[in-house]
């Protein structure tokens, strides 16, 4: 179980801006939580705080009864946290195979490495030795990013908008992967099909938890917002 206790985050550069405001949440084992909300509401910031990429300005993070607020990224990774970036990071020289090996902390045989790639709909032999650089398309990078999370096989998997840039066919495949996972999944998404598989949906707005509930409860709120926005834009 992960517990966020009164997490606040202020952006440090320039005039400090409150990005997350007193967020308290728990994430139960082996459940899928989808975090949704408007652009700029603080979803990625929250995910990065969970992974240790950003340090909260105040508040605590607990995992299975341990205070991990001050754990570094790699310490959390070793605890079983893993993170798929909204914008995948590119390298110069490191290959798909290299990163899969790092993620799973062993030299993968080609057939094992290929399994991870096929799961995300990539033909393994075309990609396994490719460098993870900007020559890969956005969708390809995104899928490789997900394959790395799978290879890490962690207890807590955090995905930041995993569906972005992924084509329809692979999207179905992706949903299947999320459903099959035997881990605590925290998925940031705007996609109703991903929200559909959530055990619980969190709606974030202006750095605050606006609502927590089942998709049946939260979906109407999202629809409402859409309508409100439409009306506003008509004026």
């Amino acid at each position: 179980m992960i517990e966020l206790k009164n997490i606040c985050y202020d952006a440090k550069d320039g005039n400090s801006k409150e990005i997350l405001k007193d967020i308290s949440l728990t994430f139960n084992e082996n459940k899928i939580t989808v975090i949704t909300g408007p652009n700029g509401s603080g979803k990625s910031t929250l995910a990065k705080i969970l992974m240790g990429i950003l340090k909260p300005s105040s508040g605590e993070i607990w995992y299975n009864g341990k205070n991990i607020t001050n754990y570094t990224i790699d310490q959390r990774a070793k605890l079983g946290f893993s993170f798929g970036f909204q914008q995948p990071i590119t390298f110069k020289g490191l290959t798909v195979k290299d990163l899969l090996d790092i993620a799973s902390n062993k030299k993968n045989t080609l057939s094992v490495a290929c399994e991870y790639l096929s799961k995300v709909g990539l033909c393994a032999k075309d990609y396994i030795n490719r460098q993870i650089d900007n020559k890969l398309s956005g969708g390809e990078l995104k899928r490789i990013e997900i394959a790395m999370v799978l290879a890490k096989n962690g207890e807590v998997n955090i995905f930041d908008e995993p569906e972005a840039g992924i084509d329809l066919w692979s999207f179905e495949q992706l949903i299947k992967i999320f459903k099959e996972q035997n881990s605590t999944s925290i998925i940031i998404s705007h996609q109703s099909k991903i929200i559909d598989i959530a055990d619980r949906v969190i709606l974030l707005k202006n750095g605050k938890v606006e609502h927590i509930g089942t998709k049946e409860q939260v979906m109407p709120l999202i629809e409402q917002q859409k309508c409100k926005k439409l009306k506003e834009s008509e004026i």
Partner: protein, 305 residues
């Protein structure tokens, strides 16, 4: 052949054993071993120290290894190697030099390589440079490479300095005929107070000639590297230089681009980026479980691979 020589040969020329095909192994200024084949002949020069390597036209899928070892101190090696590659050939040339110096007297190797590449050839040239032994003794390598790429030919050059070379100055110049292609990849690692200089001068004379230079350098400690490239486009041609440097501690890298277009259809690009290892890349590898130091090491390894 003693263990040190064997080890160096393995590191600079990937030689585990006596190679297949033609070869010439030079140690401390003398030929240690040589082998010719039907298609490839290695002839000692009469007027100066060095060899001519003559590859017959239509030689396909063959290799020549010409590694050099300097395993003593106080020795300045100077050698001229001229390659004549006949038309329609497809060959691999592995050169490279390893200096092993445990004394307190500097040693150096100056290899002057000239390539005359015929028409319709495909040549891959690999040279690795490495210095080991006493850290405080200078190990100097100054390779000079002159390349003439013939019509419709492709010359691919991988030049790698693996570390331990206290001073190096590599001068590479090339002339490209019609439809000739030159692909250069350079990887240099410097540490301590090493100094490495690179100069590329490429003349794109030929119609549709093309050059791609990729330079990746890592400078650590107090080492200094400088990269200078000069592409001259005199015809419809394409040239691209990409220079990426990673620095740490008090190291320094200078990248100086020069591109000269003398024809409206010459398309020349120089890209350069120098900086410390990207924080984002470190973060990414840390999310996969590596600590900061291991992450940095992996990134550098990949970068120079």
């Amino acid at each position: 052949m003693n263990e040190i020589t064997k080890d160096l040969l393995e590191q600079v020329a990937n030689l585990h054993d006596i190679p297949q095909g033609a070869f010439n192994i030079r140690e401390n200024g003398k030929a240690l071993a040589r082998q010719n084949t039907n298609e490839i002949e290695i002839i000692s020069k009469k007027d100066k120290d060095g060899i001519d390597i003559v590859v017959q036209p239509n030689t396909k899928n063959k290799s020549v290894h010409i590694p050099v070892i300097v395993s003593v101190g106080g020795f300045d090696d100077l050698v001229y190697n001229d390659f004549y590659i006949g038309d329609n050939s497809d060959i691999l040339i592995v050169a490279g030099c390893g200096i092993h110096n445990t004394t307190d007297q500097k040693s150096s190797h100056n290899g002057i390589h000239t390539f005359h590449i015929g028409k319709n050839c495909k040549v891959k040239y690999i040279e690795k440079h490495l210095g080991i032994g006493n850290n405080n003794t200078d190990k100097i390598l100054n390779p000079i490479t002159n390349i003439e790429v013939g019509e419709n030919s492709v010359f691919e050059m991988d030049t790698i300095q693996l570390g331990g070379v206290s001073y190096s100055k590599r001068d590479t110049s090339a002339e490209l005929k019609n439809n000739a292609t030159l692909l250069i990849t350079e990887k240099i690692l410097t540490t301590n107070k090493d100094i490495a200089q690179t100069n590329f001068n490429v003349n794109l004379f030929g119609y549709n000639s093309k050059v791609e230079v990729v330079s990746r350098s890592v400078a650590k400690n107090k080492s200094k590297q400088s990269f200078y490239s000069n592409l001259i486009g005199k015809n419809k041609c394409f040239g691209h230089v990409e220079c990426d440097g990673v620095i740490s501690e008090s190291a320094q890298i200078t990248s100086t681009p020069k591109i000269v277009a003398k024809n409206v259809d010459a398309e020349l690009v120089h890209e350069a980026a120098i900086g410390k290892i990207s924080e984002e890349q470190i973060t990414k590898l840390m999310t996969l479980g590596l600590d900061k130091e291991s992450a940095e090491q992996k990134i550098i390894e990949g970068f120079l691979k």
